[in-house]
Symmetry: D3
Subunit: 238 residues, 6 copies
């Protein structure tokens, strides 16, 4: 039995609270159980140097954790003077995942800056971030359409993410911290509304996994992400 009493294929309670803070064009609090992340999408005119004059837009993401979002306090990266390798890995993943569904050509010379800041961590902060940030980006770009700055929403599909893993030999969906720190294999999967893969990142620091386990994890992830996308749709309809 999982520590949280969940079924192997059961997500934690997920909540998506739109308009969470008031300044950003898109602002969403996403909760996967006790994991809470504020995702904002800010739209700025102009693009980074390498895209100047190409008539297309860009989207990039940054990620951070409040020092005491975790069980023991982490050092503040701003005070350390640099972002850890883990932080950079995660923010690159969030950026790639969202770019895969945004039509950058239709965006024009604008940049969407996504910020995912973890208020409280209990495993799965990167997958929660992607899932919540999609809604924030959707809100921000809808606002541009509403203001007449864009004629159509430059979003091709939904995107959401979930973790899966092998915990005590059992393939499970959406690992919380107690599971995550005690599992053999951890895989983060990012998929579109059409059920296609954008990212698959599986890692075994403990016991290597075989093809059967790989398939079981992908099945769990596909079902979990389908459910998350339903929840995104409900939030956006709300």
């Amino acid at each position: 039995m999982r520590p949280s009493q969940r079924e192997p294929g059961q997500l934690r309670p997920v909540r998506l609270t739109r308009h969470y803070t008031r300044h950003a064009e898109g602002s969403v609090l996403v909760e996967f159980g006790d994991t809470q992340v504020i995702c904002t999408a800010s739209v700025e005119s102009g693009v980074p140097g390498f895209l100047k004059g190409k008539g297309q837009g860009w989207l990039t993401a940054e990620y951070g954790m409040l020092p005491r979002s975790t069980g023991s306090r982490m050092k503040r990266e701003a005070a350390q003077g640099k972002q850890s390798g883990r932080t950079q890995e995660i923010q690159r993943l969030i950026g790639r995942s969202l770019r895969a569904v945004v039509d950058l050509g239709a965006l024009g010379e604008r940049q969407v800056l996504v910020d995912c800041d973890v208020i409280q961590a209990d495993g799965g902060t990167r997958t929660a971030s992607i899932t919540g940030a999609f809604v924030a980006v959707h809100d921000a770009l809808s606002l541009l359409v509403q203001r007449g700055e864009l004629t159509a929403l430059p979003i091709r599909d939904h995107v959401a993410a979930v973790s899966v893993g092998i915990w005590q030999g059992l393939p499970v969906l959406d690992l919380d911290y107690p599971e995550d720190s005690d599992c053999e294999t951890d895989m983060n999967v990012v998929m579109t509304g059409a059920g296609r893969f954008i990212e698959v990142q599986g890692t075994a620091e403990g016991v290597a996994f075989d093809r059967t386990e790989m398939n079981q994890m992908l099945d769990l992830a596909s079902a979990g992400i389908a459910r998350l996308i339903e929840l995104q749709k409900a939030a956006l309809a709300g």
Copy 2:
């Protein structure tokens, strides 16, 4: 008339929500109107090098703003690789203010790390931080007493802070962002429950102020802080 329709000596609605996140020994969401700051107090054993072996404790504070807590997005300090002068000034102020009421000798060789992270900014983030952080520190140290790690609460008095200023010639209390960005003089005042001053920081980048205005501002601050300390007491009793 003030932009917010408030009386000159009227605070914004203030809320102090305890136990806001679950990992920290003390965790408070403080709201001064639309200004929202998460204040956590973490207790660690050990002290910084310059205090080793002196048998006393220490308290230090860090401050940050989420990039889109403000009207236009600020650059993330962790990505910039350093904290701004303003950030350092504020976190030093928060630390000094709290140390003035904590009995560091009675704390033993422990360190209290205060984190103030601004979720949404509308003026007065440093005064809200001090006011909220006091409650978080109170909760954290009460927990040590409750666990038997301390025999008595090593807190000598309350501390709270508020801004005052001269806005269009009028002395006003607790400036919000529209007032703050349009005032001649801005003063941050930190006081104890006994009505004594810990910090007075008045700045005129515009028109210099005279002794009469100084006195008017101190009067407003004294009354405002007395009210804030009542609200702290109510929150701690809640």
Copy 3:
């Protein structure tokens, strides 16, 4: 037809040159076609702080590219004052992959430091690095056995890595730079001699991939890695 005239499942010519430089305990030049990486393994006594006194060892990796290993010169990271996110991602991947097959408990309080420096780049530098670094680590730890510092080789299995991708709709093995910069999906796979997965990192910045393509890529990778491990064994026997 692939730009390099290779069959879809065909590796580039692979060479593993042991004892490439003379100071390191293990030193290997690995070539995957025109991609050339010097992999060294250095053994030091002692472990990082978080492992002190636990009676086990550690292995960590660093990665770099010579500024003109690439078609246009990249800025030197040492002169920039920081390692890029991509560099950190790769060196974390190399470290995790090798730790998965080294018996850190049997290593004792020693640290293996792996350095992978790209002399010439033509795609696949991270997979070549893992494949070559395994041989360097094997040589370094064999030397400890030979010197009597270890009684048995603390290596549980081989590890090697290869990239696979979808290039112009075609699943292909071991992408070179022309394919890599023009493919829809790119996946790096790390596997053991026993045919189990250590890492699977698939990314679609272009067109998302479906489950069938996923399976085709994993099949190519499994066969490719089996062949790479044969080459490692031949090199170690040489």
Copy 4:
């Protein structure tokens, strides 16, 4: 009795030596007793990015201490790779204080860069810096007038600064190091020639101060600054 045998309201001997070094447009050695600071004002064409095209000028300040200006050697900030929070606080204070009396609109698109470097420290380095830097800025801008680059001196009033504090229960003016390191409250006051306040920064790390003490300190500061401004006038007339 004060350690220096001074009366409570007595300044240390103050000297302002103009044209101290030969390259800067304005160069002043300021001495408050044993505290010695070289203040230079450099004029450059152009303004920082945020002021470009606004037709106004800017003034900014930097502050440093020679490593052995103090009783025990401080680490060199250039070698440490960053300026301390204290340094940043002080240089921001110097800049704001001087900007309050310079007519930036009349300055044109020029920037005045003030450097305050402490050669020998004995308390009050920031107040000596402001007092001396005013004379250096006055010299630099007078030179522009003399060269015909400005038609009138863009300075509205004098500015000077002094510290006051409560030392062993006694309100005192212009604290030297032995008093500063042993006082309950320390307040830095910056005032104009017209007797108005630009900055008031009072801090009690020890015993909080009451309104009466506040008033006593402000009285001492007003008298002290009036005397400092007389000395500035004498120096400029010299």
Copy 5:
């Protein structure tokens, strides 16, 4: 007798391998005995800010050592976040030495970026770097001539470098690591094909040297550099 059995005035075996890697305009592996350095010359259009619009070119150099090019592993400078003073000294020396023989005026608004990366170190890495980098620069600029981008080769003379020193009282040429770490005086000499000096850098951390020893060392260096320039000519003719 020297540890390497060489005569006092005998160079180590020197090899210059052109076209060592394939991307750079000039790429040379230089070997002075067991010291091996990859020298590349990259040509970019444009010049640094301080030369913009002056119609001339520039040449600059960077230097690095692979972490395990040495007997015990050195920390990677990119991971440390800065280049050591030694590295900066060496790369400034290489740049000055090459600029002394390149006709920067005839180069046009182009920049030559030289990278010297030490693969294996056994003393004399800076002198090997200069000697090899000259050949790489020659190849890169010859390519510009061949492509019709320059009408004549903007190189005025050869340049090469060698170390000399006093080892156990004996003046010797081209010190290897065992000699270098055990000598009283070490001098690096850079000379042109015409036998003139570009740089002379002699250092005695141990016993200071007299004028006679100075002259003996300069004699050895002159003969050694003449031989190195013959080898450069042979390599370029090859």
Copy 6:
């Protein structure tokens, strides 16, 4: 005729003012004409890590320039967050030069920290620094003898430094800024009281120099340094 009307072998007026600031164990203002450098020597117990437990001492140097010590303002290195290559080169040179005459074994586990801060620059700051720092170190170590912490002065000989160069074809001694910025060759020479060489650093960015010029420069330097050492002796006797 030299711009300063000096003879080719004539030093600028040199002054060595001891006890220039009051906190350091040794504190000297050295002037070579308009070049002014404050040199302090601070003695601390303990040695750097690489010398712990070896029973010997260490001496190290740091160098800086006030931003407006020069004709146009230089950026402050502390604000830039790093020391330039030039700064590092100079401080390494100062350290090596002084270590060559200090008996580190007799110093015990103490460290001498030399700070050379340029107040006003007019060429030759590094040679003035070495010449002045020797006197500061002598004063600092004499104080240890006087206090009974050392039985004898651990200084083996004097050390001083001067620049020489070829200016408009003429070998000259002690270049000032107008000469330095317009010369073909510049050489810094560091010698002992016994007339032996510690450092010779000659550089030709313009026209390479021949052996005859080398000899002429060394002759000028030898005479100049002999004179500087007389001045050191006079100052120490004063």
